[in-house]
Symmetry: D2
Subunit: 418 residues, 4 copies
């Protein structure tokens, strides 16, 4: 529990022996943040010891879990990923790879997985490829997997390629090989990674996040222009979109909001009270930038609207003459069941309110979102294929059953900022 | 991990809500002392949440575990008790009590169990009744279970009676009732509880430990007399036997060894190095008592003989003229498979050496043990019935299979002092 | 020891009673980072209890300390500020304010002080006014002092004015009053606060840091122009200067370097090894921004040059065609004795190398600094009066004696980034 | 803060370099138990670094402290021992030994001191020799000082002799020498060390504690006999006196009270609440021993009487027919100003109540104390000379001024059990 650098100190790392390792950085949300829910999951079964790290969410884990429990399985955690190892343990296959394939053929949803056993290191991406998974190589020949390429940069690893949707990369003493054990499916890469989640210095789905994010800002300026004196981002995730907006519109970009460096993304804090406190002291306005000005604020998403409303009030108090709010994505109308913790329909302001109503709630002079079409234009020609845009359209590529509260507790592994 | 008083501080206890609770104080041995091996075990299954605290050891848990793992069960701990909850989870009974009985009918060995569910508090003692389990009642009507009655004294609980061998006491909102779901077996209460393990202020198996322990000392003086100036115990577990020896023999009792109060029984320390250090500074001799004297040392058992040898050397260096070592039990020749961590045959000095050889190793003038018959005389007329004396006779009341190393790691939940 | 939010948790804050408080956030450097060196210093003397928080460095503390020790004083810390309380304790004045004035009349150098006693809250700024000190007021009437106004914004405090150089503001139950107990001196506000140290959303010395910092960037573009495709800052401290450079030059501003949010300013980490690790993973380059481009990098200072060199190498490896390094301040040639931990002459690359040599060391196509004159132009008309620019000119407003190593350990309370 | 074994772990001890060391084990009482009050005190002054560990209490430290504070000294702790280092720091002697002598010539009261400097290890005992201080030697030639000889036994150190009252033993690279820098005074060894404080396996003041303590029990049986069935001690401090009483009276000794091994002497716990909890669960009665019996309870002292009363109630509830309370010392009527934390006059039950009244309060059938004369008989012929018995007689060998509350906080370094 805590920041990686505080947990894996040099003495601790020196204690780790062996020549392969997997790790997992889990964003906890209130309630689910127990130590025992930390990943990698590590279990022993008739297949021997298996460790598993999972990015994404399964949509039928609740059904499977109920079935397994009726059959006598005992779960150790409340995370959806645990069904994968239970299905493996129940498999009659004695070969671990076969047992893993059998297990994965029963789960549906999003998974970018790393599986470590004494013999294998296995990387798998679900057939839709919802969540990213990249492969790199170090000069000493070591193979490295990560969610984003920025992790390669700091470990002196060269980016090789993405693990493909439906691909299973197996590494053992004989080398590296690829399997494609699943039926093909329509590629459904998460478009929200580009909009908000990934770091701008990463390439995901083989495309620069920075480039896409700037393009989103440019599109926004084109379709939702406004006369103003200054463009300011909600830092840091909207910085690049704001640069794009500024370049396209010609309105100067300024750093009108300062974010405290001692508070990270709010969702890494396990305790709700600390999150609230974080929200309170995270942003401050630079009066010099907005006083007497017509201000365009760029943000990448509006979930509940509460943080946006606070920021807008600060800027108004600092003397802004006009405030125009621009969002570098379409209205977020639906939750994500594949691994991004977007709030429920009830909590999502755009799910239950018209844009006019949101504008009034935020108290801005104008409010505009990117259109769905122009969002897709920003990733046009992308060689990874199709995207999942269910949070904007409610078109879910993989069916799911909603199990009310219970479901929720299994699915909310990731939390967005608001 | 740690002493109860340090873990369950007042603020922590105030956080605990509800009206029933179970706890467990586990003596850890090197290797098995992980946090996840701490009891109570708490799992969720199709029967709902179940917590279980177990005193004793199962002799067929390894076989059951192997079978369950082959069937797809995933174990969370390396403790034998976990098979009980897995067998419950695999049961097709939907009634929890029936599932528990079905599970227990498959395990063999020693178990004094507390099981807590949202609906029930259940206390069960195995048909042989190896390990103690007592029931008490507080003035507010609360029912309390414990291993020894001394726990009742400090919690203002009145001792009611022992849970009987093979009895299952069930408490729910309708009251308290007793079931006897198992076939009857020969009572086999652990005689070693009287000799060493229990506290002298406890009643176990409905008899005063103090009284039995003194009687053992008296028998020892009768059958193994010696001319001497002073009787000293190895504190604190042999104090009462030494008083009995002194009374019967007329040789004055003195506190010739001082034990540091800041070091507890050695086996509660999880780390071997700390245990060694503890052994080193635990005892000191009172020169005034032994200098120029013929000394009888009373101890309750000799396991490896290493601590005894150190103590004897200290007493010799302090000027004792003669040293006579008397043990208030027969030679310990066999390990225990029911929950007392007596060392292996190889390590037990009396298993591999004659009394003459042990006397030479310890460097004492005379060495004598209590005979098996006289030991049994000390508990004669005991209304609980028969005893297990397998550690002295190798007559094991319940068969077991020895699984070499693996077995060991499951069975060494309790460690004796040497 | 640690971040404020981790130390002063809600439960801890609730334990604090009373109606006045002072705190201190000390940047520790290797060696001096003991708990006992933490401020506020709190002592008891014949004047009663006194707590003191000190921003700045005294230049004659070593002499005073030696004299006091020869006279029998015992120091508790190795920080220079402690001489102030010792001088108060030795004073024959029985009035605390007089004793404080007597003490301060003997020390020389930089001090922005808060002193708390059961009766008084006192804020003092040295006659030269080296370090900032601002006064604010909350709607409930509470008076608040801070180094920067950004602290007021998050505590809903209204900025009233700066404490003036040489002013002593005394608050007690009778209200607020101002004393000017010291001879007047030439104002010597630290110009480096504008360049690097303060937050851009603060007003210090009654001027917007953002405005000054942008103006520095604009001046830099005017006097040190270059043809290029993109301007990128070394985040975050050079962001605003880079915006100014971009606006003036017309070369687009991009966020070409990403800084990890989980690592703060390097100097808050007490352990050298963690600092090195921090340096390694703090920055990453956005290949998309620099590949095939002529890049202008803006930084606010170059101390040892080692971090700059690493950043430049990263940008070169990412495919930059040309790299032009621009510094929004003159070359740093001399250490600071008034509270900013600028390295020693020996370590400062600009103190021992020509600009040509630095350019070669950094491996950039061109390198240019702001001139002294243009730097001063950026703060022209500032109503606070004169500035201290000793780190750029070696003109020290207050004399000091250099006491080699010993001196160093007392003076290095603040550490800059490299 | 904590037990030695938990603080000075093997890794910590390995970090300690050098060839001399001093330590201190301080019993904290509520209020004074801050980390900064921990000994050894370590300061730097014009004499260089000095560390000091002090057993005992000074009776004029408050006056000296006031004088020093008026002169400008700043104290770091609230412990009396700190005046010694301040007086050294104020001394004009440049030789450390001379400065220490000058300092000690100004303090009055009890001190057994160890002083460590880069050059010297110094052991000093005050002229009255209130508190013990013994010197030992290891086979490797190392000189060791301790309060009791039991510390030598576990460190394989041979007991050489006591440091004499008024003696200063100085160890440096030239060897060991003795100085007697103070005027001679009447020896006043603390008789309470024999009665309660020291361990029975120690020799203090060159006499066996065990022997004296047993002799006290024998005298008690002689002068305060009673007809009874069983003698039981309040463990562990009264064990030996009870053995003496039993031997002299012929009434059998039994261990009728069991003391939990997981709670040490109550006064080592810093927090009052934990102390109370400790008192509650520390003792339990062995019903078997007292039921239907006439019981003699032996204790070594009665302070407030509250613990005794609780124990007596327990024994009564367990079925004792008669209870006779015998104390192996005279009534404690006065506090100690020399280092044993005996409660104030107001709190001491024997200071304000007659023996009849105490007997009624305790609800015992008879109550008797040892007489002053017979107590002295137990140490007759002791070669150390006279004793301090002020807690029983109010005859204080060294005058003191009582400074009400303030004084108290300086003097209560040691706390007795009740």
């Amino acid at each position: 529990m805590g920041l990686v650098a505080n947990i894996f100190t040099q003495p601790k790392i020196k204690e780790l022996i062996g020549d392969s390792a997997i790790g997992h950085n889990r964003y906890s949300t209130t309630g689910a943040s127990f130590l025992r829910n930390a990943q990698p999951i590590r279990v022993e079964s008739h297949l021997g010891p298996v460790a598993l790290a999972h990015n994404g969410n399964l949509v039928n884990s609740w059904d499977i879990r109920n079935r397994l429990e009726r059959d006598g399985s005992i779960f150790q955690t409340t995370i959806d990923s645990e069904v994968i190892v239970h299905l493996m343990a129940k498999s009659h296959k004695t070969d671990l790879l076969e047992a893993l394939c059998e297990s994965l053929s029963q789960v549906r949803g999003a998974y970018s997985l790393l599986v470590l056993t004494p013999r294998y290191l296995i990387a798998v991406r679900d057939p839709n490829g919802f969540r990213p998974l990249v492969m790199g190589k170090r000069s000493d020949g070591a193979i490295v997997f990560a969610s984003e390429t920025c992790a390669f940069d700091i470990t002196e690893t060269e980016y090789v390629r993405d693990v493909e949707p439906g691909e299973m990369v197996v590494i053992d003493h004989t080398g590296v090989r690829s399997l494609y054990p699943f039926p093909k499916a329509k590629p459904s890469l998460c478009i929200f990674e580009y909009i908000y989640f990934a770091r701008p210095d990463s390439y995901i789905f083989e495309e620069s996040v920075y480039k896409v994010r700037k393009s989103l800002g440019r599109q926004l300026a084109r379709v939702m222009p406004v006369e103003a004196d200054v463009v300011i981002p909600v830092p840091d995730s909207a910085n690049i979109a704001a640069l794009g907006y500024s370049e396209e519109s010609g309105i100067p970009y300024q750093s009108g909001l300062v974010r405290s460096h001692y508070i990270g993304r709010t969702f890494i804090e396990p305790d709700q009270k600390i999150r609230d406190f974080g929200a309170k002291i995270k942003y401050n306005v630079v009066k010099e930038v907005v006083n007497g000005k017509r201000v365009v604020i760029i943000d990448d998403s509006v979930m509940r609207g509460t943080t946006s409303r606070k920021i807008i009030k600060m800027i108004r108090n600092a003397g802004a003459k006009e405030i125009h709010f621009r969002v570098s994505a379409p209205p977020t109308v639906s939750p994500c069941y594949y691994g991004i913790d977007i709030p429920t329909h009830k909590e999502l302001i755009a799910s239950t309110h018209s844009i006019d109503e949101i504008q009034k709630y935020l108290r801005v002079d104008t409010l505009a979102y990117l259109t769905l079409d122009t969002m897709h234009k920003a990733v046009e020609g992308h060689k990874g294929g199709g995207f999942c845009d269910a949070c904007f359209t409610s078109n879910y590529p993989v069916e799911f059953q909603d199990h009310a509260g219970n479901q929720k507790s299994l699915f909310t592994e990731y939390a967005t900022e608001e």
